[in-house]
Amino acid sequence: MTMDPFERFDEFLAEADSDGALRETRSRAEARMSRVGLLGLGISGAGALLFARTPAARAAALPAGDVDILNYALVLEYLQASFYTEAERSGALTGKTAQAARVVGATERAHVKAFLELLGSKAVKRPTFNFQGVTEAQRPFLKTAVGFEDLAVAAYKGQATKLQSNAVLAAAVGIHSVEARHAAWMRELFGITPAVKAFDPAASRSQINRIVSRTHFIVAKPKMKVRRKPKFTG
């Protein structure tokens, strides 16, 4: 089914056409997110442009390099949001893990929504995922969640110094540290040390792409017209 996920992953990032469709359950996290506002994080001046009323105006105000980085982050957020949503729906999670998956899933969906609002028509579309069954049992779920969250931390860190807009940087670091909280939470639930080293290393885009491609979780580039929820793998 999948030929070259690595190549495809890059294609998704280059994909600039989208109707910005997102049908996610409106969650508490989303509500909180829109109250805080992705870019309403105490940044004025440079950020003011980004509060433009229309998505097109907002996206136009973003430096091209930042749009590219935001789309890269959006793909990682799609990946996480779809993963948690599917795990929740599978009904395989119990106890503290089920609770954590609900909370973290709501947050990842809120991140997706915030990026879509920010990027407007420049947002890449959601790829099709196949989580290879890992959302259908607790241990594989937790192991994958640890991997995703540690990956997200390294990915955001790798891009932080490349962002030009201070408003986007302020938002990105606020998400970066939340991904680190998620990583620690999932590690604790999995039964491994939540904070292994004193310094968390960054990872480059090509390193992240290589890791994601090895999972074979991304199986198809986004459909141009079809809107649908993440597919189940079972």
Binding site: A29, V36, G174, V178, A180, R181, A184, A198, D200, A202
Partner: protein
């Protein structure tokens, strides 16, 4: 020790201001401003080291909580040493600290550790746009570890470990004020 090495690249630049001046430290990033920011951060790391040391002696920590405190203490010592190395001759003296009941029982310790680690995350995040890219890269390697600590102690306590979808930053002034409220005396 990537962050330590990166921080070590800072050149010594005369320090114009102290903590109170940092409230307005939002000029374009510069090495001089990095130093001012790192001086506040150094106070934080001093406070974290002292807090975990004291709690390990006084709070009666056992099991997971003790492991958390010991691991975090090790990390904070490494952070402090990296920042000391970066500041060179511009290091600040170890402040006086009074933690009161915070290190006297497991429950008080959980609440205080959560508060201190959240303060660290918000404080580091709040300076992201004020730092040169060089120092930002190093600070980013530290802040996510502080965030992991915050989530870890919450998870041990059975709380929601990541309550917010995005971490709200605070200004340098709020950061310094938060440290004072926690018990850092200078």
């Amino acid at each position: 020790m990537g962050a330590a090495a990166a921080l070590g690249g800072l050149a010594a630049v005369p320090v114009v201001g102290r903590l109170f001046r940092l409230g307005s430290a939002n000029a374009a990033p510069s090495k001089a401003q990095d130093i001012q920011i790192l001086q506040v951060v150094m106070q934080l790391e001093f406070a974290q080291v002292a807090f975990y040391e004291r709690a390990l002696r006084e709070a009666g920590l056992k099991g997971d909580l003790r492991e958390f405190a010991q691991t975090s203490l090790g990390h904070e010592r490494e952070h402090l040493s990296a920042i000391r190395g970066a500041l060179g001759a511009k290091t600040v003296a170890r402040p006086k600290m009074e933690f009161g009941a915070k290190t006297k029982s497991p429950n008080a310790f959980i609440a205080a550790a959560t508060e201190l680690e959240d303060l660290a995350v918000a404080g580091y995040n709040g300076q992201a746009t004020n730092l040169t890219k060089h120092t930002l890269a190093a600070a980013a390697e530290i802040v996510s570890v502080e965030a992991r600590h915050a989530a870890w102690v919450r998870a041990i306590a059975g709380e929601v470990a990541a309550p917010d979808p995005v971490d709200k930053p605070i200004t340098a002034q709020e950061f310094a004020q938060g440290l004072r409220q926690f018990g850092v005396k200078s």
